[in-house]
Symmetry: C2
Subunit: 185 residues, 2 copies
């Protein structure tokens, strides 16, 4: 059997395995992913987010956010994102891009009910995230129900780069039924 990194199906399988582990295991490399968006003025933005769900059948990823955050403001103007996983041990970079839907209210309620009690205040800071405050702890945490949002990234493209003795790079497109093609690294 060839190494996983030497075939297109092997690489794609490893991507979803890595994402699944990120959801299940807080110490996995894909637990904390970098999420890039474009600000309304065109400026690139990137921050660390926690991967909350990964659905290989639909090719979607979920993260949770405060509705009042800068990333939601960016996504309301331009609903596109690219997520990045760097799995150092596997020497594998995974780039995941597509369109983002912002789920709130009833659409997010079922997911909110599964957010642990002790994690809920993260979504209800007052003043809202990013507001200047006079001291480091001059904010309050409140019930986050109203501010909770699920950001669902529907992938259009997955790109992988494996750094081995020789590098391998491939792209998989939803429009190409995820069959994939090799790229020069």
């Amino acid at each position: 059997m060839p190494d996983w990194h030497s075939t297109l199906p092997g690489l794609l399988g490893r991507v979803w395995q890595s994402l699944g582990r990120g959801v299940a295991d807080r110490h996995a490399p894909a637990r904390h992913i970098a999420l890039a968006t474009t600000a309304p003025d065109g400026t690139p933005q990137v921050r660390t987010v926690v991967l909350r769900a990964a659905d290989p059948a639909e090719a979607t990823l979920d993260i949770h956010s405060d509705l009042r955050s800068a990333k939601v403001a960016a996504l309301r103007t331009r609903p596109l994102a690219e997520a990045l996983v760097w799995d150092r041990r596997a020497r594998l970079q995974i780039r995941l891009s597509g369109e983002v839907a912002i789920l709130t209210g009833p659409a997010a309620a079922a997911l909110w009910s599964r957010v642990p009690e002790n994690a809920r205040p993260v979504y209800g800071a007052e003043p809202p995230p990013g507001t200047p405050i006079p001291e480091s702890l001059a904010y309050a945490t409140a019930d986050g129900t109203a501010a909770f949002a699920v950001l669902r990234l529907t992938l259009a493209r997955i790109e992988v780069l494996h750094l081995g003795d020789r590098h391998r790079r491939a792209a998989f497109l939803r429009a190409g039924a995820w069959q994939g093609e090799w790229l020069s690294p």
Copy 2:
């Protein structure tokens, strides 16, 4: 002495310490950073890059790139980037944004001379990076001198988020002489 994460100078000092370690130590969290750019069509992009230099006096970061890469194409249209470091052990997220200069030819020659021989072919793949190829290894590596570029990010803003018992978030601006201010997390 207060904890480093409880004062603005402490946080900023920790940022530059972390970046310095990233340059010097290939196993440090800031060795591999996420670099976000905006594609010419406005799409957000992010990929892992190696941090090659960090200058606290000038507040600049250097990375190396192939001139023919998609990130250079993006930066030629919109010379802005945000870099992200996630230091899991310190529970610290660092966001570093500003303008990017693309150094080539004589301006990059001194830095090229310090790129190890065995690393040079990375910058000279044929066909150019991102080109579809029929097989995973259907590319050649050539002398990378002509394709080598240094991307120098001159920081305008540094934002940090420390995840402790209570979260602390702060922003430091070049325009504010890097004094910093606290933000609601």
